[in-house]
């Protein structure tokens, strides 16, 4: 089995980081195997990076459906299980059920959205691989995932773009 390595080049300005990304693309490293790490959300496309589509928008719908079903189960279930007429209202009081249904639907949507954000961000992943703490101080990290036989080539491309330091993990 061929080992996968993580090679990181550290740059002190965004232009050098973008050049490194271009270099890796030109050297034939497949899209998705290299990425840029920053401490600031740069405008999309600032580094010519490849960002695959996410499916976050499906999550709230799923969560909302689950929340709605739970709400119906709670409101209808409790009223039918203990059918006492209060205030002349019907046992299954639609307006009152609607309020709880609304809240639980929204709650389901919010929880599912947060789960979706974490899942789609590929978190949790406590193994950071090749990483440098200076990235959160304004430096730009360009990281390549490659097999043993391409490590030297990756280091060369990162160095050519002006890396201040190169790390391998």
């Amino acid at each position: 089995m061929v080992a996968t390595n993580s090679v990181l080049g550290l740059y002190d300005n965004p232009d050098a980081g973008a050049n490194a990304m271009d270099g890796l693309k030109s050297a034939g490293f497949p899209l998705g195997s290299f990425d840029v790490l920053t401490g600031t959300p740069y405008p999309e496309g600032a580094f010519g990076e490849y960002v695959p589509q996410h499916r976050l928008f499906r999550f709230p719908f799923f969560g909302a459906m689950v929340g709605l079903m739970l709400a119906i189960l709670f409101t209808a279930g409790t009223q039918l299980a203990y059918p006492v007429i209060t205030g002349g209202k019907p046992i299954l009081a639609f307006f009152a059920m609607l309020i709880i249904a609304y809240e639980l639907t929204m709650l389901g949507a919010v929880i599912a959205t947060v789960v979706g954000i974490i899942f789609e961000s590929r978190l949790p992943n406590l193994n950071l691989g090749a990483y440098d703490t200076r990235i959160t101080e304004g430096y730009i990290g360009v990281v390549v995932e490659c097999e043993d036989d391409r490590v030297e080539e990756a280091r060369g491309v990162l160095q050519t773009a002006g890396a201040l330091e190169i790390k391998t993990a």
Partner: protein, 457 residues
């Protein structure tokens, strides 16, 4: 609106993490002082649970008093977070950046505090679980979803859970920064809490989408929560002054008024305590004061409409209540203080730019608003119950007991203590948002002019 200094990421980290990486001298004595008040409050709760609610001033017919007033007040304060964070995020207002985290935090802690009050008020808080959850199958006791008192826990529970998750998701990048600046157990804690955040484009993109998506989801919840709180009163036809169709929007706009004012108070405190002059600038207070003028004027409109609805019906009990609220001692004094504090003093002052840019003035006027808004809730809740009804012979007026005042004091100390504890472990101003705003201040050349990339503030 170009008062900002250009700061690099290193400086932003150093300045905004000052309270996290080093402990300011004032921090520990302040937290200990607040802890004494908090423990005093919990002792008062213990006394009340032991002796019963008879130790409060509550008695027939005023069975809702300071506790429920404080509950509505703190729910109102909690509306700051989503109002500021979600609306300004959706409209991409640049000046939101230093404000959002503190506003969201205020939402979470004030909601947690608000939840205490109905529990304390119930006298036997452990019995509330029978009332809310359908778990007591052996005794056949089930919640009654037709009661607004059941709607409350669902609304507030949803809002609290959503706000907490919203706060956490926006904290992830900053937890990554703290992970990179700490060692030992703190490093391990932040490593786990940040979930391994690295800051790749996919994570940043999802962070941006998350901000917008969660804002869009939280906004309807924000409107529903105070509407539902208002229905605790509005669906009660037996009490004059409560049974009003306008209560939902009236409560929501009142909550926004008090909540945004609380954010102003907190921002002034943050600027003074941590010396964040580069981040919380007079222009932010100016923008919030402009927003407050609009909100306060809208709220005043609803207050008048609510009053006119009551008087216009020409029903004798309703008119008698309004007369009592406004012209009978001691309610007339409270009404005057309420109106002066919530509108008549602060709003005309905010029309002056010199006041809007004066942080001390903004601090004190925002405190005035919240004194007024607390009194507003008191004047809605208590006089309606306290007015003498015909053919009812057990009667007593309401005097707030020392225990109730003590618990009101406890609530402020509790919120402040939680905020200070949070500030020790997490940044109060979002680092990544601040850094992003610095990117947008870079100049763009248009013809012969150099313009900042973002001119909208």
């Amino acid at each position: 609106m170009q008062q900002r200094r250009i700061l690099d990421e290193f400086t932003i980290n150093r300045e905004l993490l000052r309270g996290n990486l080093n402990t300011p001298k004032w921090w520990l004595p302040t937290v200990l002082g607040l802890l004494v008040v908090v423990l005093f409050g919990f002792t008062l709760m213990g006394i009340m649970f032991n002796k019963g609610v008879g130790v409060t001033g509550l008695n027939r017919p005023v069975y809702w008093g300071l506790f429920i007033t404080s509950f509505v007040f703190w729910v109102g304060i909690s509306h700051a977070g989503i109002m500021i964070s979600a609306i300004l995020r959706l409209t991409q207002a640049e000046w939101r950046r230093p404000v959002t985290r503190a506003a969201e935090l205020l939402t979470v802690f004030s909601l947690m505090t608000a939840l205490f009050f109905p529990l304390i008020h119930a006298g036997r808080p452990w019995r509330i679980f029978y009332w809310i959850t359908p778990f007591d199958f052996s005794r056949g006791i089930f919640p009654n979803p037709r009661s607004p008192l059941i709607w409350d826990p669902f609304a507030i529970g949803t809002y609290l859970t959503g706000s907490t998750l919203f706060l956490y998701v926006a904290l992830l990048p900053d937890l990554g920064v703290l992970r990179d600046r700490t060692t030992g157990w703190k490093h391990s804690f932040y490593t786990v809490a940040s979930l391994g955040w690295r800051g790749n484009p996919r994570q940043w993109r999802l962070q941006t989408v998350a901000g917008i998506l969660l804002s869009a989801l939280m906004l309807p919840i924000f409107v529903s929560v105070h509407s539902i709180v208002s229905w605790d009163f509005a669906v009660t036809p037996a009490v004059e002054g409560w049974h009003s169709t306008i209560f939902a929007p009236y409560f929501v706009i009142g909550a926004v008024h008090s909540g945004v004012s609380a954010v102003v108070t907190m921002m002034a405190l943050m600027r003074w305590l941590w010396g964040w002059e580069n981040y919380i600038r007079p222009e932010h207070f100016d923008a919030l004061a402009r927003l407050l003028i609009v909100v306060a004027t809208g709220w005043l409109g609803f207050t008048f409409v609510e009053l006119i609805f009551g008087v216009y019906s020409l029903e004798a009990p309703e008119r008698a209540l309004r007369e009592m609220q406004m012209f009978t001692w001691p309610w007339n004094l409270l009404f005057l203080i309420f109106f002066l504090c919530a509108f008549a003093i602060p709003v005309p002052l905010w029309f002056f730019k010199r006041v809007r840019n004066n942080i001390a003035m903004m601090f004190w006027t925002s405190i005035l608003v919240n004194i007024g808004m607390w009194l507003e809730r008191f004047l809605i809740i208590v006089p309606g119950l306290a007015r003498k009804q015909p053919f009812v012979f057990t009667w007593d007026s309401y005097t707030v007991s020392y225990l109730e005042w003590g618990l009101l004091l406890w609530s402020f100390a509790w919120v402040l203590m939680l905020m200070l504890l949070f500030s020790k472990f997490f940044p109060l101003i979002p680092l990544f948002e601040t850094k992003e705003s610095q990117l947008f201040t870079m100049d763009v050349k248009i013809g012969r002019a150099n313009m900042p990339a973002v001119i909208r503030e």
